[in-house]
Symmetry: C2
Subunit: 354 residues, 2 copies
């Protein structure tokens, strides 16, 4: 494997000194880029793009050609595991992801297989290997998975949800069934992420998009507990380097102490928490990733630069900060604004790393 | 005006001793009740129900006939003010509220009138007077409004939103236009709530449903600042009693110190914050309202009772707690479960009030 030319991202996650604050953008390979839309059109539908290693590699690398990003992230979907379990993932226009066979009871949980990451999910590992090879050590490659709770919401609701009626009914009326499902998902995610690491991912991230719809007690029981199981089950070294793990719960700002206590290396922050406050609460234990409001990329360039400076000043001196948006980049953001954002992070952060 | 037979709700908001913890439910007059659906069908569409004082009174009183609730809340919509400003509110099936003429720029903000609460909004005041009279002092009547930020989201987006693209574009690119709109809305809300108080509301609540989509800095500038203006502009005594004011920001748990510092009497909590933590942080300054996950009403009765006891124990001894759900009751909850909830609050709270 080729030497890494830029390891700022990995160093910052381990709170080791860096020259400038590293930056990447959640969903940086995506619809705001015309070249992404062209490749997507070539692939056909979204899952065909995920399943074609060459094209998945192409869209992963596209944002790196435009912007001085410090990491690449595997292009894939968070619902690959439930799909590999046989739930029948499909996409309805304007409706988001749907499952043909949602989880409805204990029998449907019992029937779920734990997917073999090199078999049913082999297409993901092929994409990881292809991307890692084509990156030629330019920046590290991030692998990822949805959290067990977040995957379960789609599997039980049958798709996206606003009120999470079905899974909460299960959670309150049949908690043991849901725990069985979450445990099976945690085991599947461990195998999946370890296979990504073996295939070349140099860091992994767990996205808990929907943990924030839970009460503090339910979050710990039904989401965090299973993310902790994952952290404990992961391969933590590859190519002689530590493989850092980042946990991100959207709307989880109240619980960052508990997230940091899982043993993860970094905690992802959305934009509803002040990064100075987050650093004061957990910055001696973990690195922090975040946290500009993705909507700020609609603002004029000068305002974007101002916001970057505010967040950098909030984190202050020293390493342990990976700059990012607080959630995925919006699809109608001008790419030039993303460039202003990335460049501003490098330009204005140098003073904090002396 | 008739003496209040049950003033637990008002006393708890002012942290005065009570015999048991008072309880009501956000959206307690609503579609989960078959008698509500019957009255709604009689009225025709939703706004016709709001505009008919007799029928609005009828649906307000319906839940009080089923459950031992400690407060009634005016039946109305949060979008009455933008409608009275001439934006043309209408409801599209399955789409929620929409406006014919959304706010798009400074000129459209400049053109907005401040509605006269006894003229364009006279139907709301008629409903307040009718309900107050028909309550015959059984329990206090709560008046309410949406917060300026929350009203502005609908006015700028043209309806409900998931990503708040348009209003955030305005917030970051043209903040002065948005401040002008929010200030006009704050002035309108002050007139509107004071008119409700004059018409008979014994307490008022401001719903900031969408404040939680903002960063801490933007929340203070674009939402909280205007709620504070409202608190300072309200009539605080009527019929020789204090009129308590409750502020509720959904997903605002991180900011309850700042909310409490506005001078409000109570802070509403959703279910994503532990009430024991909230009490430790602000319980010497304000009362707390909340905070059971509304989805808990899907659970079996024994589980509902257990959750009520957990939250009561979290708040602990003494007054200053108004029990409620953390958001509106879901439309598919069995009414018998709501009864279990209300009864459990009274039954299990007595021990904390000695």
């Amino acid at each position: 494997m080729q030497e890494l030319k830029n390891d700022r991202y990995l160093r910052a996650l381990l709170r080791q000194p860096v020259d400038v604050t590293p930056v990447w953008m959640m969903r940086q390979a995506g619809r705001y880029l015309p070249e992404y839309k062209a490749t997507r059109a070539e692939a056909g539908d979204f899952m065909s793009l995920c399943k074609n290693a060459e094209l998945a590699c192409e869209v992963t690398l596209q944002p790196l050609r435009r912007f001085e990003l410090d990491a690449a992230i595997l292009f894939s979907d968070i619902l690959t595991i439930p799909d590999a379990m046989g739930l029948g993932l499909y996409f309805e226009a304007g409706e988001g992801p749907r499952f043909e066979k949602p989880i409805i009871d204990k029998a449907s949980v019992d029937a779920l297989p734990i997917p073999d990451p090199e078999d049913e999910l082999g297409y993901v590992m092929n994409a990881v290997r292809t991307i890692r090879k084509n990156l030629q050590g330019q920046v590290p490659l991030i692998g990822f998975s949805g959290s067990p709770w977040t995957l379960a919401t789609y599997m039980v609701e049958g798709g996206s949800s606003k009120s999470f009626t079905k899974i909460k009914k299960m959670m309150f009326a049949e908690p043991q069934t849901l725990h069985l499902l979450l445990d099976k998902l945690a085991d599947s995610v461990i195998l999946y992420l370890n296979a990504q690491i073996a295939a070349g991912a140099q860091s992994v991230m767990v996205f808990d998009t929907w943990g924030g719809v839970l009460s503090p007690r339910d979050y710990k029981d039904f989401s965090l507990q299973y993310m902790e199981k994952i952290v404990n089950g992961l391969t933590r070294e590859a190519d002689g380097r530590r493989v850092p793990v980042t946990l991100f719960t959207k709307n989880g700002g109240a619980w960052i102490e508990a997230i940091a206590a899982t043993g993860c290396d970094a905690v992802g922050l959305d934009w509803t928490i002040d990064i100075a406050e987050a650093k004061a609460r957990v910055g001696d234990k973990v690195a922090l990733q975040g946290n500009m409001d993705p909507s700020m990329l609609y603002a004029p360039p000068a305002r974007i630069e101002e916001e970057v400076q505010t967040i950098l000043a909030g984190f202050g001196e020293g390493s342990g900060h990976v700059f990012n948006l607080g959630h995925g980049i919006h699809l109608d953001v001008p790419p030039e604004h993303a460039k202003v954002f990335v460049d501003a992070v490098h330009k204005y952060s140098r003073q904090y790393h002396k």
